[in-house]
């Protein structure tokens, strides 16, 4: 069986949608962060696969995913730091409890 590019793009799309679903439904901030990570990884897969299978001449997609991985790491570090700060004052990381700001 020949491996078509769609066999890579569809799972990554499913992964992305799972990430969105998780982000919207999970109540724990760490779980939300994991969902975001899923979305960002789906992007990395997409770029690598498109570069490898459709435009094998250049390296743009590979480099974009390299940078995207670094950026995702920075984002996660930042988000974890902020969540820990919130945990110090709130004693939990449930988004339902982060609702004091209201008009």
């Amino acid at each position: 069986m020949e491996i078509n590019v769609l066999y890579y793009l569809l799972p990554s799309l499913v992964m992305f949608c799972c990430g969105i679903y998780g982000f919207l439904t999970r109540k724990n901030m760490i779980a939300m962060l994991i969902s975001l990570e899923l979305m960002l990884n789906a992007v990395d897969i997409n770029f690598t696969v498109i570069n490898r299978f459709i435009y094998p001449d250049g390296q743009e997609g590979m480099f974009f995913s390299l940078f995207a991985i670094a950026i995702a790491a920075a984002e996660t570090a930042m988000a974890i730091a902020i969540i820990i700060n919130l945990y110090r004052v709130n004693k939990n990381v449930d988004v339902r409890d982060a609702n004091k700001l209201q008009g």
Binding site: F23, F47, I54, G58, A74, E75, I83, A98, L101, G103
Partner: protein, 490 residues
Amino acid sequence: MDYSQFLAMKQEIALLAIFLIVFLYDTFMPKKVLTGLSGITTILFAAFTLAGFGLMCGHTESAFAGMYVTSPVIATIKNILNVGVLIVLIQSASWNNSETQSTRRGEFYELLLVTLFGMYLMISARHFLLFVIGLECASLPLAAMVAFDKHKYESHEAAVKYMLTAVFSSAIFMMGLSYVYLLTGSLYFDTIASSVGCLDAQPLLIVALAFVIAGVGFKLSLVPFHLWTADVYQGAPTAVTSYLSVISKGSAAFAFMVILAHCFGSVYSAVWEWMLYGLIILTITVGNLFALRQNNMKRFLAFSSISQAGYIMLGIIGNNAMGMASLMFYILVYIFSNLAAFGVIQAIENKTGKLDMSDYRNLYKSNPHLAFVMMLAMFSLAGIPPFAGFFSKFFIFTGALSGTTSVALYVLVLIALINTIISLYYYLMVVKSMFLSTEDPIIETFRSSCADRIGMWICTAGVIALGLVSYFYNSILTLCQNSGLLNAIV
């Protein structure tokens, strides 16, 4: 490698130099002189801003194989942002010199300069890799700045909300980019522009562009991607809120225009005109309707800034040079009028800790000057002549309509006009509570600090001068018409 190409990035390198000076000063100087940090940063930045005006008559240069471009128009928008940042720096001086800020004063300035650097990259980028790096460089330090009030719960909650939505939006944005890459095989704006033309309205292109617009729409807080805005604006320290609402929004709006007009200009009417059309109507209307029922001033300005973002988008939907000029002028005017309002809010918050609109009742009795500046800001935001806001709205409507005969755009401008009248109601509510209330004022008479007053003077002068002197708009328009940025496409 040819290192001389770094010379094209004069503004970025100068900004990094300021950042390094501030960083080294903050790290190595003795504790006693650290209170001078705010003054030094402001003076350095003022010199940098003035020097930046010299670049406006330069010519187009590019670096890193065309990934980075600078031109007179780009230098101008950077200068406009610089003016805004300078005012923010002046206005935040007294907050930064307070006791609670003493241990982390330097961090505020460092983070602020880094975010500005990221915005520069966003504006100058002509390759999506550089754009994404600039976007993240602008939004990650901003999240740290939102979380700056370490002892306040609200600040943390706002930071969490900002951070999670920022990451979510950048993930969506990059997913859109991956589909653009799939369709065109490149991430260079030029290559995308030339190959997207023959794609027409392919479903995948529509999906890709919808993702890209949604991603940037989060940064610009367009409805329906606006839900974070009010909470973040309310929870963040006021200095950060003012920065977030004008500088971050202004740079994102310009970068958004470059992406849409430059990369996807050839599918303007087929794909993104109607997307933007819906977004603008929703943004202006929903922002206005929610602003009507706010009492907290920062929350109120958050919703007002959402609807202002809708007006800024009107400059993009025209897809012509006049729209571009009016967008830049709108950002400039918006910087002055919004920062005037935030200057007053910050001065009052620093002295009394009051933030609610009901606390402002009869402010005219106790602090006539502050009430006057606030009134000016509200009039300008609402668009009452002869203040700057009227002309910026006028030009942006003209820009949206120039060179078009489409009835839809006329309807759009009509809706925007009706919304201007709705917005007049809530802007005047503030003025009414300051001037026409009969009860005793809550806020006592006080004298705001020197830096606060300088900041408010600059904003007042800006609001009046931009309304009365036509030089500013004319020079921006000439610059835009001479530049090849939009002309190649229109």
